[in-house]
């Protein structure tokens, strides 16, 4: 703003008065109590719809956060993302220090189903939004929205997008009995070892026994194509 003031003496005068103001505020003897404005709630509604034929979604994590990415194509998954993508347990993601406010589903969202979450933050209108959930009849497939900039939404504004499936790259896509936590198998979720490429990528899809991967516990019902979810976001206050 100051650069608009072409009159140099005037600009100097304003700068001087600003400095004086700062000094006055720091004066301990100042009798005036500083006025703290009442916090303003900023609330978003986030709806996730499962578009797959046979992939329930693990309880969805909806997180408002600072300038961090939860995943990047080509980069190694965090242990928290690996845990969610292999087992569906989102507690590690929700507990990350960058998370300012969050909501989580209590139960999976079945194929064709949807769930709406509400998450509120005080005074911050430029948080980032991340939504994350596992496709549970897979080794380590997940989907969601990464660090979406909420500053573009004014009160009443909505946005809707269709999301693809990612592969966490932390567990080989063996589709073998005992390795898939979803109802198709009931196997082990998270395992420490990283026996895959160790970077996040677009998911190649599942092969399944119906397509002649004889050792797969999955069948044609579990195949999927993109997009796998729609996510809509509305700022309600």
């Amino acid at each position: 703003m100051l650069h608009l003031l072409k009159n140099k003496p005037l600009r100097l005068a304003i700068l001087a008065s600003l400095s004086l103001g700062l000094v006055a505020c720091n004066d301990d003897d100042d009798p005036e109590t500083p006025v703290t404005p009442a916090p303003v709630d900023v609330t978003y509604q986030v709806t996730v719809t499962n578009l797959t034929n046979g992939q329930p979604l693990s309880p969805v994590a909806v997180m408002l956060h600072g300038d961090d990415n939860f995943w990047m194509i080509g980069e190694s998954a965090s242990v928290e993302l690996e845990t969610m993508a292999e087992s569906g347990d989102n507690s590690g993601l929700l507990a990350l220090p960058t998370v300012l406010a969050s909501a989580s589903g209590d139960a999976p969202i079945g194929p064709g189903g949807n769930e709406t979450f509400e998450v509120t933050i005080e005074d911050i209108t430029d948080a980032k939004l991340t939504v994350a959930t596992m496709l549970v009849n897979t080794n380590d497939a997940f989907t969601g929205l990464n660090a979406w900039d909420l500053s573009q939404l004014a009160v009443g504004d909505s946005w809707k997008g269709s999301m693809s499936a990612y592969d966490a790259g932390t567990e080989g896509n063996s589709e073998a009995a005992g390795t898939i936590p979803g109802p198709a198998d009931g196997g082990v979720g998270f395992e420490d070892a990283r026996d895959d490429v160790d970077f996040v990528a677009a998911h190649p899809g599942v092969v399944t026994s119906s397509d002649n991967l004889a050792s797969s516990v999955l069948d044609s019902q579990h195949k999927f194509d993109n997009p796998v979810v729609t996510i809509s976001v509305t700022r309600v206050e």
Partner: protein, 227 residues
Amino acid sequence: MKSSTKILAASLLTVAMQPAWSADLTVEIQNLTQGIYFTPLLVAAHTPDASLFELGETASAEIEAMAEMGSLDGLMTIGTSVNADMVADPAGGLLAPSLSTSTALTTDDSNTVLSITAMILPSNDGFVGLDNWAIPSEAGTYTFYLNAYDAGTEANDELRTSMPVPPPLDPLLGSDGSGVTSEESNATVHIHRGNIGDDQASGGTSDIVNSIHRWLNPVAKVTVTVN
């Protein structure tokens, strides 16, 4: 120069402010797949409170008939009852892989959204669809892509006896498959999981050919010109 720009801007503003505006459209649809046919397309402009299908909801009987048999009769009856502006079968039959079809569509004031459907072949109940795309009031060319959906009304057994088999597909499809599945586990409209197919002309599980009749989304490109 300046004043003519101003007048143009003013007239655009008038158009933009008009809440309902009859439009003169050209709609071009291209089949992006390598081996999948589209049955006759329905292109319909209608009011935003109407909808041909919704993801995650049960398909209507009219969508079911379109997705299982390629029939547009039921959808056109609905369209007529809500005063939709419709063009049926702009390609004059099947729209073959990689080909495009184009149609003009003049819309009434209140018909501000565009929907498109056609069955995809070979499939049991697959369709390509556009659901309530808001027609822009500003003249221009708009391009977007469509996905393949599963109507959720028929098990994807992939048998030739369960689907229409028009002449171009007849010599390609196998026969006497045992059926990939007898279960339709998701009875809502959802993203189609794709065909499985097999490589056996006779027998096997599927009558669909695994090296020809698969696809990945998107399956169609739509170019709308608002004149």
